[in-house]
Symmetry: C2
Subunit: 112 residues, 2 copies
């Protein structure tokens, strides 16, 4: 995913957030959008991305539609109803996580 190990465990909520904000997306598009949004900081590797997307599909968090763009396949992912519920939970956890990091890294300025 990235040079730094920091992102470990954050990939799933990141993808859920992307799908929540942008609706239907395909895998490669997710990697590019994350790279753009983070100004090149976060580069999702394919070896992390695709297995995770497959897992989320198995779990019924996302559903897929395969389309052809010219001669090239695109597999579009979107959140299921269960996936939207799961995303809400994941976002709450992310908020708490980020707040905790603030407490530690910025003990003075972090809001109580």
């Amino acid at each position: 995913m990235k040079n730094s190990a920091l992102y470990k465990g954050c990939l799933e909520p990141i993808l859920l957030r992307l799908l929540k904000d942008h609706g239907r997306m395909y895998g490669y598009q997710m990697t590019q959008m994350v790279k753009d949004i983070t100004k090149g900081e976060l580069n999702i590797t394919e070896g992390a991305l695709y297995p995770l997307l497959h897992k989320l599909e198995e779990q019924g968090i996302v559903e897929t539609e395969t389309e052809m763009n010219g001669n090239r396949m695109r597999k579009y992912y979107s959140l299921t109803k269960a996936g939207k519920k799961q995303t809400s939970i994941a976002m709450e956890e992310m908020k708490a996580f980020m707040q905790s990091l603030e407490y530690i890294v910025n003990p003075k300025t972090a809001l109580g």
Copy 2:
């Protein structure tokens, strides 16, 4: 470390930050301080903590002094000179990481 997988990869910079802010600390103290600071959100497990501290010592990032508190041992850790340099780097990476998370989770309000 925590119920949530989010913290994976963040433990090392968290410990470095603690040592930077509070100087000499022993392992158990670190777990309690992190729990306090994060209002119970972040519970460092011993299985994650001690092997990491040992690794940091091997790498010359921290140095140790063992003291007795009554009949109980405490192994105090503090940053070496190299450790302080390493901590500065780790904190820069943390800042970039947290900013990237903001971009993704709060695309509207996140500062450019």
